[in-house]
């Protein structure tokens, strides 16, 4: 399975992909991953990719080769769907909006949820929108998204206990507790 994750620098794509990579490994899958962060955290696009399967292969996914896109921002969700997701694939996105400069200053229109879902329908892509107004910290949107990935069974073979284990490996103290709560293993 090929998973493409995306967001804007500062949103926590790094932690999302670390957690997922480790959780898939705990689930017994052979995994490879890679981050592309370009100019580090400076408000640019951050991508991370994970591939599962056995044998020797590239960590990078070809355009149109992703089965699942996980996005932390609406504009980036559309960009990743258009650039990486195959027809009939799946998208799960946290509906945060961090407008690019040209959208803020009104020179180009932003991406609406309707436009995003319409594009997904056109290409037979299952789209799952995630949004919660009860998060104590916006930096937990990544975990909220992961919770919905589990809830909707978007990654066959990945179960809540795998993610819990990965969280316990990577986080500690207050952060661990808060994230486990958001995960709200159901």
């Amino acid at each position: 399975m090929n998973i493409h994750m995306t967001g804007v620098g500062g949103q926590g794509i790094g932690l999302l992909s670390e957690l997922l990579l480790r959780a898939l490994s705990v689930a017994g899958m052979e995994v490879r991953g890679v981050d592309t962060h370009g100019l580090a955290q400076r408000g640019g696009v951050v991508n991370s990719q994970i591939r599962t399967g056995s044998g020797e292969f590239s960590p990078l996914i070809a355009p149109g080769g992703a089965d699942l896109v996980l996005a932390l921002e609406r504009h980036e969700a559309l960009r990743a769907v258009g650039g990486y997701l195959r027809d009939k694939g799946a998208l799960a996105y946290y509906d945060a909006v961090w407008q690019p400069f040209e959208v803020r200053n009104g020179s180009v229109p932003g991406v609406s949820t309707e436009a995003l879902h319409e594009e997904c329908r056109r290409r037979d892509i299952r789209a799952v929108r995630v949004f919660r107004d009860d998060l104590p910290d916006p930096r937990m949107q990544n975990t909220a998204l992961l919770a919905e990935v589990l809830h909707n069974d978007l990654i066959p073979g990945l179960r809540p206990e795998h993610v819990t284990q990965a969280m316990e490996d990577l986080l500690q103290g207050g952060a661990l507790k808060a994230n486990l709560e958001i995960l709200g293993v159901r």
Binding site: V8, G9, G10, L21, R22, S25, E30, V31, R32, G33, V34, D35, T36, H37, G38, L39, A40, Q41, R42, G43, G44, G55, E56, F57, S58, P59, L60, I61, A62, P63, G64, G65, H75, E76, L78, R79, V81, G82, G83, R86, A96, V97, W98, Q99, P100, F101, E102, V103, R104, N105, G106, V108, P109, G110, S112, A115, E119, R123, P138, L170
Partner: protein, 625 residues
């Protein structure tokens, strides 16, 4: 799972999911490396992050960030020539700064052995070019190992250290961005943690390390012979697909792309995967050529391997058709699975199907990187912009402040390399009394390569306004310390204040302004621009990304935000259109401005930019809506 630092020092063999940069550090531990040096630059800084995870007292080697790459190579060479196995690492263009010393290394006898890890950047993800450092290795008689994955990075580092020690030489380990940042399960060996022999081993008798006169020829001869002798077995391998017609020679990450693309191909070519890309093994290459009618050399960036393979085919009198770069595009960018599919399909359409086209899909608006919320550089550009005339020439330098070239500021219209802004600015000011010239320089860059340019301006009486963008850290590459911060990688250290350095050089016209004090900065820059000779403005404000991360970790921290008063806002949109903070958002229908509370750090640097006094900072829960 153990903590990273403990894991890296584990005495028994283990398996762990790690990125390439982390795998290298375990390699250094196992190989008995004693001294490691660096200057930060993507894609390599996470090597230092992994080193930092090991407690300083437990670290089996000394590590330091040096002031620049040249000094880093020199410190590592000094240690290695004294018998300490040493490693130096930096980004691709770091080798340019280091090269005056680097090109000499293999003229020397280096008893400890020295491994130079370069992080090349095909695709220029985080660099100002895509330079292919294999050329500098050839120029300096340095062997090059090129891993394709984290597992290979670890294994090749062990091999590189062993080659370097055995032959008392320097060896290059050439990483690329997505090998540094790839993650996979790596099987590591054990580490006995035996005491190390630290007897100083330098022997300089008979002028053995002085490349002057007749010694140069002798040293060069040894370098050439040692280069040929340094090859270790098992670095190159052939993947047989039973195809007598077609073969592919490849290396590094493109090898994995080839495997991906060929996984569904009809009539797969055989593959020769090179681990050592310089010098090539004549036996291996000619054997592979002999076994095929047609061989494609598939390599990222320049035609480095291709040229040698063609020469070998010619010298061996072989009639095998050797294919390589087919068009200019083949010299550019990363050979991802998508790119490799394009190339193989173009060449062998009967075997490889065309890439999926994504052309018709709905596109998203472009997103450029930008300065963070609260960034002091933003306030600086906003204020400096008000002091500039339209035809003034602004010269950028390397760092977060480079982003000032983008809208809305568009300040800094030329960019070259670290520390280049001052020299370029001086040239621009010659025979030019009409257009005033302003050069920018970051604080880490000031120490790295900025000082000679400043001295030249004094030495040759140039007219220039220099603005030092002092944020108290090496921000762009992940907040490393520098000589002006009062800490090095390991300990507190004497801070070197930039202002004092400038004063010590005899510069009289220096003003220092906190960038959040925008009016004062505009005035200071306006004055500096009107003065003859060299004038300096130190535009300072601590990096707010670093600052806000530190604040957030403190107990009882409450996040403040800036709020837009709907009553007062006249839609002048100065905050968005000219100040350009990403924390503001615009309602697509009404055009109204509000704050994105996910982003706003409540620093309030925007408040003074609003002509209608509509911005104000509020504590959480106090928002009026």
């Amino acid at each position: 799972m153990k903590k990273l630092g403990e894991m890296l020092l584990g005495e028994s063999p283990f398996r762990e999911l790690v990125m390439g940069n982390t795998a290298l550090v375990r390699g250094m531990v196992e190989a008995g490396v004693r001294v490691v040096t660096s200057y930060p630059g993507s894609p390599t800084p996470e090597i230092a992050t992994a080193i930092a995870s090991i407690r300083k007292e437990l670290r089996p080697f000394h590590f330091e960030f040096c002031v620049n790459e040249k000094v880093a190579v020199e410190v590592a060479y000094g240690a290695a020539v004294n018998g300490r196995p040493s490693v130096v690492f930096f980004k691709s263009v770091g080798l340019n700064v280091a090269s005056d010393t680097f090109v000499q290394l293999n003229h020397m006898d280096i008893p400890g052995g020295l491994v130079v890890i370069v992080g090349d950047d095909p695709g220029a993800h985080s660099s100002q070019n895509e330079q292919d450092n294999r050329h500098l290795a050839r120029m300096s008689y340095t062997p090059v190992l090129e891993p394709a994955s984290p597992s290979e990075a670890y294994a090749f580092l062990l091999t590189a250290v062993s080659m370097a020690r055995k032959h008392r030489m320097a060896v290059m380990l050439r990483m690329t961005t997505h090998v540094c940042h790839a993650k996979e399960m790596v099987s590591f060996g054990g580490w006995p943690n035996t005491p190390r022999d630290d007897t100083p081993g330098f022997d300089g008798s008979g002028g053995s390390h002085i490349p002057i006169g007749a010694m140069v020829a002798r040293m060069k001869k040894r370098a050439i012979e040692r280069l040929q002798a340094s090859r270790e077995p098992g670095l190159d391998r052939v993947l047989e697909n039973g195809n007598p017609k077609r073969g592919i020679i490849t290396a590094g990450l493109p090898f994995l792309s080839v495997l991906d693309v060929l996984s569904g191909a009809a009539r797969k070519p055989d593959i020769l995967k090179l681990g050592m890309v310089h010098p090539l093994s004549l036996d291996t290459i000619s054997g592979f050529l002999r076994a095929h009618e047609e061989v494609l050399v598939l390599e990222e960036l320049d035609d480095f391997i291709e040229q040698s393979v063609k020469a070998m085919a010619h010298d061996s009198g072989l009639s095998t058709r050797v294919l390589g770069k087919g068009c200019t595009e083949d010299w550019i960018g990363e050979f991802t699975p998508g790119r490799v599919r394009e190339i193989l399909h173009r060449l062998w359409p009967d075997s490889v199907v065309a890439p999926v086209s994504m052309a018709g899909n709905l596109a998203a608006p472009v997103r450029f990187p930008q300065m963070c919320p609260g960034c002091g550089h933003r306030s600086a550009f906003f204020a400096i912009g008000k002091a500039l005339r339209k035809n003034d020439i602004t010269v950028a330098d390397i760092g977060c402040h480079t982003l000032g070239f983008l809208p809305p500021h568009e300040i800094g219209r030329l960019l070259m390399s670290m520390g280049a802004s001052t020299g370029i600015g001086q040239g621009l000011s010659l025979f030019n009394s009409e257009r005033r010239v302003v050069a920018f320089l970051g604080d880490s860059t000031f120490f790295h390569a900025g000082i000679p340019g400043v001295i030249n301006a004094i030495f040759n009486n140039h007219r220039l306004t220099l603005i030092v963008m002092e944020n108290g850290t090496t921000a762009m590459t992940g907040h490393q310390e520098h000589p002006g911060t009062g800490r090095n990688f390991n300990d507190p250290t004497e801070r070197i204040p930039i202002r004092k350095v400038l004063e010590g050089l005899g510069i009289q016209n220096i003003t220092e302004v906190d960038t959040y004090n925008q009016k004062a900065l505009t005035t200071a820059v306006g004055k500096a621009l009107e003065s003859p000779g060299l004038s300096v403005v130190i535009a300072k404000h601590p990096c707010m990304l670093k600052f806000s991360r530190e604040q957030r970790r403190k107990p009882g921290f409450v996040q403040r935000h800036v709020e837009v008063s709907e009553d007062k806002c006249t839609l002048a949109r100065e905050c968005i259109d000219r100040f350009g903070c990403p924390s503001f958002k615009r309602d697509g229908e009404t055009g109204r401005v509000s704050t994105n509370t996910d982003l706003c750090i409540g620093d309030g640097s925007c408040i003074q930019t609003c002509p209608s006094d509509a911005l104000g900072a509020v504590a959480p829960g106090k928002e009026s809506r």
